[in-house]
Symmetry: C2
């Protein structure tokens, strides 16, 4: 840790403890001794899966996103349960949302989505070894499953129907792999 | 909009109006008529800039991120002021944070960072036409500027020092462009 960039917590106050996120305000001491306020969202973290079918299509989800007041198309994803192993969560979420069960799955990378205000870390997995499993969605989860080619996915980015960080990352990942061959 | 996926707002309550984010709770009616609760963060949106120097290095920022309680290395970025044009914001933030002024800059893409709980949209720009401008940081902004090769950037991803969505996107973007040639 570079000491000269560190922000020490002087005091903190939890504003909200939710089902998914918590909001905490922190007063911090800046490196120059002055103070500032930080608005921080704590999130349990999430997984997302780049899943490719036998017929060389990417499995995507069309889902209404209340913060955006619209549907967008994303790779399958889900929040981590408290203490849950991300790999186990990835396998579970893929099957529950899409009905595809990965016979093999590999970790690709992980990244913070919004480090300026949130601690959400997303773990990305890849699989192209799928078998049929069983759909089992949450009570408040409504979505459509799509299977598209890489070219179709790129057209969805152009149309801003694919419009989120993990999914544009996934499309780039597949392109860097040399496509879906 | 697919009606069958839509979630209608029944009631909403603003929990917090912050300097950067707002937190709103919404009771929604699900497509099957049942109800659920959504925890929503409203954010002004942001810009981030993939900037390449004349000597073919990527300009990066090492910055303490309070939500993570550590420093990570990111492409230059900043929040939009209310009603601010993203392109103007990108030029301003790049110069203020790094001292580099873009002579030319192009829009690459935009993406939501966390559509499950936040409406933050990040606009990504690219420039490899830089001239020297003037550093002018916010009062509570402390950071180091780095210039690294693509290979060094990939090593930083391996070490989880580059560990956020927009920056791993940026590195993939440069690789897909064929590197920094």
């Amino acid at each position: 840790m570079e000491k000269k960039l560190f922000e020490k917590t002087i005091s903190e106050k939890t504003i909200f403890n939710g089902r998914i996120i918590d909001l905490v305000l922190k007063d911090v001491e800046l490196p120059d001794g002055k103070t500032s306020k930080r608005e921080i969202i704590n999130h349990p973290g999430a997984v997302a899966i780049i899943a490719v079918t036998e017929s060389k299509k990417i499995v995507l989800i069309n889902q209404f996103r209340k913060p955006l007041e619209k549907t967008i198309i994303e790779i399958p994803a889900g929040k981590l349960e408290k203490g849950e192993d991300p790999l186990k969560c990835a396998k579970r979420e893929l099957e529950e949302e899409t009905g595809y069960k990965p016979k093999e799955i590999e970790a690709v990378t992980s990244f913070y989505t919004s480090p300026g205000f949130a601690d959400e870390l997303v773990h990305i997995y890849f699989t192209d070894k799928l078998e049929l499993g069983e759909v089992n969605r949450d009570d408040d989860e409504f979505l459509d499953v799509l299977e598209v080619t890489l070219e179709e996915a790129e057209a969805l980015i152009e149309k801003q129907l694919i419009h989120d960080a993990k999914t544009v990352y996934a499309i780039q990942y597949l392109k860097l792999k040399g496509g879906l061959l």
